[in-house]
Subunit: 377 residues, 2 copies
Amino acid sequence: MNFKVNSKELEKALSKVFPAVPTKTPVQILENFYFDISDGILSIYGTDLELAAKATLNVVADSDFKGVISARKLYDTVRSLDDTLLYFDVLEDTKRIKITWEKGEYLLSYISAQEFPEIPVFPSAEDESVFSISINGPDMKYAIEKTLFAVSKESFRPAMMGVLFEFSEEGLRFVSTDGHRLISLLFKNYSVEQPESYVVSSDVITILQKVLDDGEIKMFFTKSHVAFRLNDIELIARLIDERYPDYKSIIPLENEYDFSFNPSRLLSSVKRVIKVVSDPLKKVNFNLVEEGDIEINTDDSEMGDFAMEKISGSYKGEDMKIAFNGNYLIEILTHLSDLEQVSMKLRMPNKPVLISPVEEEENRELTMLLMPLRLNV
Amino acid sequence: MNFKVNSKELEKALSKVFPAVPTKTPVQILENFYFDISDGILSIYGTDLELAAKATLNVVADSDFKGVISARKLYDTVRSLDDTLLYFDVLEDTKRIKITWEKGEYLLSYISAQEFPEIPVFPSAEDESVFSISINGPDMKYAIEKTLFAVSKESFRPAMMGVLFEFSEEGLRFVSTDGHRLISLLFKNYSVEQPESYVVSSDVITILQKVLDDGEIKMFFTKSHVAFRLNDIELIARLIDERYPDYKSIIPLENEYDFSFNPSRLLSSVKRVIKVVSDPLKKVNFNLVEEGDIEINTDDSEMGDFAMEKISGSYKGEDMKIAFNGNYLIEILTHLSDLEQVSMKLRMPNKPVLISPVEEEENRELTMLLMPLRLNV
């Protein structure tokens, strides 16, 4: 059998599936693309068994075909080609796919489709047991950018290795936490009557981030799976089947002191003062005073080095010393650095602080919670 | 004692010395800058004992000072500061240097100058036993760009771990080789009457490349050392005290067949065809015919994959098959990719080929020699 397809169109489809193809896996066959041509539509799958990606495109084919082909070799070859028409010939006797174009001829081996593990079934939009909702691309991009970094890397609490998608009358809230910080981001424009909540693995969100564009994303949730349908790609992944921690009980309500500052400027000072610290906690002390200079400082007990910088910002509240893990602070400030001004709400040196934008887009509410370090550590 | 200096001027000087400061060394004190203030001139040194860098700048100082200070901490602090005036106070009782500016105060520990190992003496221009010559910045940049990559990484032939600087009536010739390829680059505009030749370690050339600008470079050679003096920085390094291989005897003179091609276009084809090959030699076969298509191909005996591409170019000579190590070929083509057209001169499938620019700037002669692979391997 044979089919033909434009190199750039094929490259685009492969590039969307490629992030889902695992590289170092004991199940070697997963390092391949699964090709399925049916009625002139080529579906390309990649999966690590936990999640799968599928891209579809039209091809001119003389019959149907299913086969498995090296993802790295095919993608590397196609992505570096100029815009040209590629002819694919399936040579069944030698188990090769011959790819020909004006300037070249490649013979790549393929494997029978039967040898590929079962790919999760992508939900159909018509299935009524499925909860489905659409979200626009820029909102999803923003949500991933603000929450993904704070997901836990530790596997002893599996729920915290995912992002909570919580649907309610309030809207759609994304929550991530690793126990040291917690991000809550509410979009009021996706309100639903019946509350639903799902924990989506950070692995599939990482891939979603790579393939996202500004178009609409249709999300489908079943009891066990989540699927994302974009313009030309679908992702499906097993949900994390664990109860998400009760994040609401952690967020303090009585933090009435307020420190407002420019996150980029604080970020560059924090990055600089932690350079003198050898301790991996990278403790940064804040000295907040309502009148006078606001200062941050670090010290290194081993070398006796010390760094202090004055911070521009304004503080309303009782004079307070509070300390944070410098690495966490840097990550949070980095993910706020698109903002001109943010506000840190606090009350006690040993209670979590809440950092939020001073001005926010309508329909959006972002809060980043950070646990302080003990001052005497 | 105290001194003051502008943050951006200090950053510039530190940035030039920093590449010479070793990072993982058993002699921990070498991970520092050596500061020497004398008569209002601050000299900053960094050394790994084999080579040293020195930058000088004017400071406003109330007395002289010598001391040793953490390179990473100081450079990281200063490089991220805005343009500001820095005040340095040396606190001798606590062995700290206090650095103060409008917005901050740092205390960094320092070590007595006596504890620092001896730094090689930089040659004086007045010393008559020294051979000295000037070369312009763009020529040196070009020479490094074209030769450094082919220096051997194997220590069993120390001379080949350096670049040969060969001065003669012909001019200044740079030569590098690792036994598989050999680069010869002659600048006819640096002719000298008395032949001189030196082998300069690739370590110091790597650092020179980082600190080079378009200004003139003065080079000083003694029996044991080479020094490079740039606008605001000096480098000194021990020469490699080994006889350089007789490169002239390796360069074939009778290669009369000629394959002309665009190096960037061949490069992208070679990069693509080697993707199907798992063997680390990445053997690329050339099929050169005077009339008809010129082709390159690769095959993978393990998977049975095969790749062939037609190459645009013209060949004059007897039909010939010749094969090269794909990795070496890619490196050579990468370092020729600034050129529109190059010519590969060849004669026999088992003899070295010579690749040169078809059109070259006056006064310059570049030749890249590449050993072929055996065809039947």
